[in-house]
Subunit: 318 residues, 2 copies
Amino acid sequence: MNERIIEFLKKKDGYVSGDAIAQRLGITRQGLWKHIQELKELGYDIVAVPHLGYKIESIPDRLFPFEVTRDLDTKFTGKKIHYYEAVPSTMDLAMELGMKGSPEGTVVLAETQTKGKGRLGRIWFSPKYKGIYLSLILRPKFSPQRTPLLTLLSAVSICEAIKEHCGIDSQIKWPNDILIHNKKVAGILTELNAEMDEVNFVIIGIGLNVNNEKKSLISGSTSLREAREEEISRVALLQEILRRIEANYIHFEQKGPKVIIDKWREYSVTLGKRVKVYSHREHIEGQAVNIDIDGGLMVRKDSGLTVKVMAGDVVHCR
Amino acid sequence: MNERIIEFLKKKDGYVSGDAIAQRLGITRQGLWKHIQELKELGYDIVAVPHLGYKIESIPDRLFPFEVTRDLDTKFTGKKIHYYEAVPSTMDLAMELGMKGSPEGTVVLAETQTKGKGRLGRIWFSPKYKGIYLSLILRPKFSPQRTPLLTLLSAVSICEAIKEHCGIDSQIKWPNDILIHNKKVAGILTELNAEMDEVNFVIIGIGLNVNNEKKSLISGSTSLREAREEEISRVALLQEILRRIEANYIHFEQKGPKVIIDKWREYSVTLGKRVKVYSHREHIEGQAVNIDIDGGLMVRKDSGLTVKVMAGDVVHCR
């Protein structure tokens, strides 16, 4: 009902009489008053003037599911959103939901994470109301070997959404960092639940610095607000990210990885660079020459030998 | 305490006086009597004769953790056992335990499963007290691409344990069926929780038909009892399986996959056969010529081209 009241008030420019709202939504004046109080507590600035009625002055900067799903023209992505003020990690919740059979496209969203997960046990710093911290459940019908491509697909989708919504150019550092002016603005974490033959589900985790001021950024990172020098609507940006991921994902399932890989190459800041790749036990140094059809990075070593790296930390050398 | 009473009684050949037991274990005669009743309810046939004392006549055919862990000389495998009379699926419980951080070697064991999981959503028929239905948590320090090898490793370990404990020869049908006289006696299901770079944990699921009579076997399957024409001690066999898995696993981590692959070849009934492999969307027909270092099956097609298959259902052709 709160959602319907907000929708009703948003449609009107000026004041709307309480009677009109109550009648339209089939509730009593008293009931309406109670809902208005609830909405105020959620942060909606609703003014009530005797004889004129109610008016929304401002909406809060929150990722409320009904704000995100309204006008979200996706088929399945973000249709079901589990929203939290604070959680240890959206990844762990999404993993549990995945195991319980939550459908493809289910999103776990939090305003802050106390133990936001980065790759390899690292922490993603998740200050409250500043970023977008989400985990998305996908159920692709392919073998586990293909999942690294979903990391690339998500990276491409985030770059596209940042360009579309904020007009800012960003780049991808292989495999999963999004950079603006060589500083990290977003990270992607992909977790997999699979049999040998078949993926059960994949969780795409995204941590994106949106409205972080300089003081709430760790060294080497940036935010969209820093880059654009103004506040960004997180709801609209999140919608754009979900739309782009779904569009690229459907494309990928129908046409294969080529289009994703081509787009990835366009956004890549790694290809052509001299790199050091630190993986499990060894490190490899050479020229990053290409990305393979399964998402691996091709590195040409000084010996002339070209090797494929499926995972690791990349340092771009000067 | 029940465990200590059983251990005490097992050590003695004849009757043991209640006073001797109570004194040794530091409990009252009344306390002892209560524990004996509990043990009787668990199925231990304990006879009490006035003036003589207690004697174990028989122990029940159950996989009680304290029976399994006693004398189990492994380092970590089976040191912690979660035991259930009946569960939907040991796999799902183990997956939850893995996510909560249960250590490597943790085992989930059930006397029956109402929804025992086979590969690709199939059911593993799990009649009560007849088979061994277990899921084992491993935390290997390697990339997700190597996990198919754990399926092969488990298959080899089961064949070794069956040979050691029952003196029966069994074969492996790629990738995960154990056969006796061309009938399925065990299946292995491997599930993976991973990041792109790193395995978080792997669950090895084993379903093994032990004491199933003919009438409780589905078509195309057999049991150890059928093959050997006598009842098998499930506890001792389970211990042998856990021992073998651990030994092969440690060997694999230290020396790499070669020894596992070599053993696998010995037990293989697939290599050299003409096969049809049904995978995601296609099927491949040809000669199974080898197993690759990452566990893939090499199939030489009639065109002369050899392809590697990582997963699928194999049919051995005549």
